[in-house]
C-alpha cells in the first residue's frame, strides 16, 4: 500500500525514510519499523466514506464550528427559513450546549438528527456516519453538521464535510483566531455573528478579527452578519447557493472537495486516495 511505496511522504517528512529504508535493526536487536501514518487515519478513512455518500447524493456537507453560544443553531434556523422552497436542508446536531437544538431545527420543518456525544468534546466521522443512516440524502441539497461548541478539538477530526464554516460572535474577543489558530486555520469561511450587538460592544473590531485570521495565512472570506436582525444574511445565503451549485457540478464530474486546510494525516490520506484511484480507475493501457 501507500506507506510502502512512499507516495504519502510529504516534503516535510521525506528525510525520515530516505537513506535507511523502512526496516532497520537497532543495537539492542529489536526491529525498528518506519510507519509514517497519520494518527487519525482510521477516522479519515471513514470520513472519506462519508464524503462519497455526500457526493453520490449530490449533497453539499458543511461543518459548523464555534464556541458554545456563538449562534450556530440560531443561524441555521434563519437559514432554513430563508432558503425554504429553494434548497432542501437537513441538520446533524452534535452541539450539546442546548439540549433541544435538534428540536429547534425540526420546528422549522426540516430533518434533524441529534448525536448524543455524551462527554465527547467533538464529533468524529463515525458518529456522523451513524447519523447518516437516519437521513434520506436523496431529499437533501445541503447538510449542515453543527459540531460541538468547542474551539479546540473539532478541527482535528475530518467528518467528510466539503467545507468548514467557523463562527466568531462579537461577544467574544476579536483575537480568538490568534488564540485558537488550529480551529481558525481550518475555516473555509469565517462568520462574524451577532453583528446587531456591535453597537453596544465597541471593543470588538471585525477588521481586527479578520487581520488575526490573515496572520494564520488564511485567505478564507469573512462575512459579518446577524441572524437576529437579518443584516449580512444575503451574502451568507449567496455563498451557500454558489457552494451548493459548485458541489453539484463537481459531483457530476466525479470530483470532490475537502476543506482547504486539513491536518497532515488527512492530507496523507487524500494522497493515498487519489493514488488508489489512479490504479483502479484511470490506469493507462499497457501500464501495469
Amino acid at each position: 500500500m501507500c506507506d510502502t511505496c512512499g507516495c504519502n511522504v510529504t516534503d516535510a517528512n521525506r528525510h525520515l525514510i530516505e537513506g535507511d529504508g523502512r526496516l532497520a535493526q537497532t543495537e539492542s536487536g529489536r526491529d525498528a519499523i518506519s510507519v509514517l501514518q497519520g494518527l487519525l487515519s482510521e477516522n479519515d478513512r471513514l470520513a472519506a466514506h462519508n464524503r462519497e455518500h455526500f457526493d453520490s447524493h449530490r449533497v453539499l456537507a458543511l461543518n459548523l464550528m464555534s464556541s458554545p453560544g456563538s449562534g450556530k443553531t440560531r443561524l441555521l434556523e434563519e437559514t432554513i427559513g430563508a432558503l425554504s422552497g429553494e434548497l432542501r436542508i437537513a441538520v446533524i446536531e452534535g452541539d450539546l450546549e442546548t439540549e433541544n437544538d435538534a428540536q429547534r431545527i425540526r420546528d422549522k420543518g426540516v430533518a434533524a438528527v441529534q448525536i448524543t456525544t455524551g462527554t465527547a468534546c467533538h464529533l468524529d466521522a463515525h458518529m456522523v456516519h451513524d447519523a447518516l443512516h437516519a437521513l434520506d440524502l436523496d431529499q437533501v441539497d445541503i447538510l449542515f453538521i453543527e459540531n460541538v461548541g468547542n474551539l479546540v478539538c473539532p478541527a482535528s477530526f475530518d467528518l467528510g464535510q466539503h467545507r468548514n464554516v467557523t463562527l466568531l460572535s462579537v461577544t467574544e474577543g476579536d483575537d480568538k483566531p490568534a488564540k485558537y489558530p488550529v480551529m481558525f486555520r481550518a475555516a473555509d469561511l469565517m462568520l462574524i455573528s451577532k453583528s446587531d450587538l456591535l453597537a453596544v460592544l465597541d471593543d470588538f473590531s471585525p477588521d481586527k478579527a479578520q487581520r488575526h485570521l490573515r496572520e494564520l495565512a488564511s485567505t478564507a472570506p469573512v462575512h459579518t452578519l446577524s441572524a437576529r436582525s437579518g443584516e449580512g444574511m444575503q451574502a451568507w445565503l449567496d455563498w451557500l447557493r454558489s457552494e451548493h451549485s459548485a458541489a453539484k457540478d463537481r459531483a457530476a464530474h466525479g470530483q470532490t472537495l475537502r476543506p482547504a486546510i486539513q491536518p497532515d494525516g488527512q492530507r496523507l490520506h487524500t494522497h493515498e486516495h487519489t493514488h488508489q484511484h489512479a490504479h483502479h480507475g484511470h490506469g493507462r493501457p499497457g501500464h501495469d
Binding site: 516534503d11 516535510a12 517528512n13 525520515l16 537497532t26 536487536g29 529489536r30 526491529d31 525498528a32 519499523i33 518506519s34 510507519v35 509514517l36 501514518q37 497519520g38 494518527l39 487519525l40 487515519s41 482510521e42 477516522n43 462527554t119 465527547a120 468534546c121 467533538h122 468524529d124 479546540v152 478539538c153 478541527a155 482535528s156 477530526f157 483566531p177 490568534a178 488564540k179 489558530p181 488550529v182 480551529m183 486555520r185 488575526h212 490573515r214 496572520e215 494564520l216 495565512a217 488564511s218 485567505t219 486546510i261 491536518p263 497532515d264 494525516g265
Partner: protein, 128 residues
Amino acid sequence: MRCSTRNAPGVHELAVCQGLMTQVEQIARREHAARVTRILLRIGPLSGVEPQLLSDAFPIAAAGSVAADAELAIEPQPIRVRCLTCGEESAASTNRLVCGACGDYRTQLLSGDELLLASLELERRDNV
C-alpha cells in the same frame, strides 16, 4: 484544581490515542511482534494535539495491549512556511504564519501540522 485538570487526559487526546493503538496493534500483528518497545510520534504545534496530554492518555489507551510497556517518544516539529509571493522559506509561530522575509500572509505550511506515527520498535516472537 490545576493539578487534577492537568492529570486528567483530554478526551480529545484519548480519542487520538485510541486511533494510535489501533494502528500499533495492526502493525504489531503484521510484523509478528511479541511486544512493542518504543513508539515514535511526530507532532507539530498546529496539529491541535497537546503532546503532554497525549503522553498522559497513552498508559490508559495502551493498558493490556502489546504496547503496554512501550516508551512513547514525541518529537515536536518546527513551524515553517514558504511564501507564495516571494518564495522565501522562514520559521513561523502558531498564530503568525506570515512570511518572515516580505511579511505577506499568503504562505504555504511546510511543517508544523504533523500528527504522525513515525516509527515503532518491536521485539519479534522468534527473537524472544
